[in-house]
């Protein structure tokens, strides 16, 4: 599994770390992994953070995967944020106006965590 989960009780935050690029050839598998982790997690959450820090690129199928996940999380009433480090991924999210549905945390991969 290329996706892992970490829950921070104090922040009521579930972080899902997705390894690698989000592409047409792996989007279905990544989507299944993310949804499985979201549904397995019983802790109360207000914020789901998707860590895509190792993704260098995303294609249109990968973008649709993200949209599906964001919709699911928003419908359950949680806030969504994306951590990205790739300028290319950032440009794709920017022109598709992804910041209207999720907070985009774009920073250099070596920058310190909050």
């Amino acid at each position: 599994m290329k996706t892992s989960a970490k829950y921070i009780a104090g922040k009521r935050q579930l972080t899902l770390t997705v390894k690698g690029d989000l592409l047409s050839t792996n989007a279905e598998q990544r989507h299944e992994e993310i949804m499985e982790l979201l549904q397995k997690s019983n802790e109360p959450r207000e914020h789901v953070r998707l860590d895509l820090g190792t993704a260098k690129m995303i294609d249109s199928v990968g973008l649709n995967l993200l949209l599906g996940v964001v919709r699911f999380v928003r419908e359950e009433g949680s806030k969504v944020s994306l951590r990205i480090t790739s300028p290319s991924v950032n440009r794709v999210l920017a022109f598709s106006q992804f910041d209207r549905v999720a907070e985009i945390d774009f920073r250099d991969k070596d920058a310190p965590e909050d």
């Binding site: 047409s24 050839t25 260098k56 995303i58 294609d59 949209l67 794709v92 106006q97 549905v101």
Partner: protein, 158 residues
């Protein structure tokens, strides 16, 4: 539409005098190899133009992937009997990378500069071509959409 896979005819058509970097023909059923193709394109571009397009290499690769997936899936219908071609050239005068993808499909009615996708309502809309338009510096269609051409200009070097 007939596809020319001859590099000379391509060059004469659009990219006369440019340096040819990649000239390949793929069958529709090779769509399953898209990740391998992508790795070859990326390595070839890094090798041929090591200092160019710094910070935009993955934009170029994303556009190549989207353009070729569109050609293999829709133009060639994933058939072993149908082929599409990819030509990548470099114009040293403009410091521009030119990409041309030809497929045997009947084209499509893609509206140039499609409105920015509304993410809340996009659903599973395929918008790979919109990605190409936004990421590249120039993008156009010919032959009623069965020929896709896009350009990246190395702005840092100019």
């Amino acid at each position: 539409m007939s596809i020319s896979t001859d590099s000379t005819s391509h060059s004469e058509l659009s990219f006369s005098g440019h340096i040819e970097l990649i000239d390949e023909t793929y069958s529709g059923n090779e769509i399953v190899l898209i990740d391998k193709m992508q790795a070859v394109w990326r390595r070839s571009l890094q090798y041929a133009l090591p200092r160019a397009f710094e910070g935009r290499l993955f934009d170029v690769v994303t556009c190549l992937r989207e353009g070729m997936l569109n050609a293999l899936l829709h133009g060639c219908e994933e058939s072993a009997e149908k082929t599409c071609s990819l030509l990548i050239t470099y114009d040293p005068m403009r410091r521009a990378l030119n990409v041309r993808i030809d497929d045997p499909g009947s084209g499509h009615h893609f509206t140039p500069k499609l409105e920015t996708p509304e993410v809340l309502g996009i659903g599973h809309t395929p918008f790979g071509l919109t990605m190409i338009q936004h990421l590249s510096d120039e993008c156009k269609f010919e032959n009623e959409g069965s020929t896709l051409m896009f350009t990246f200009v190395d702005k840092k070097s100019t």
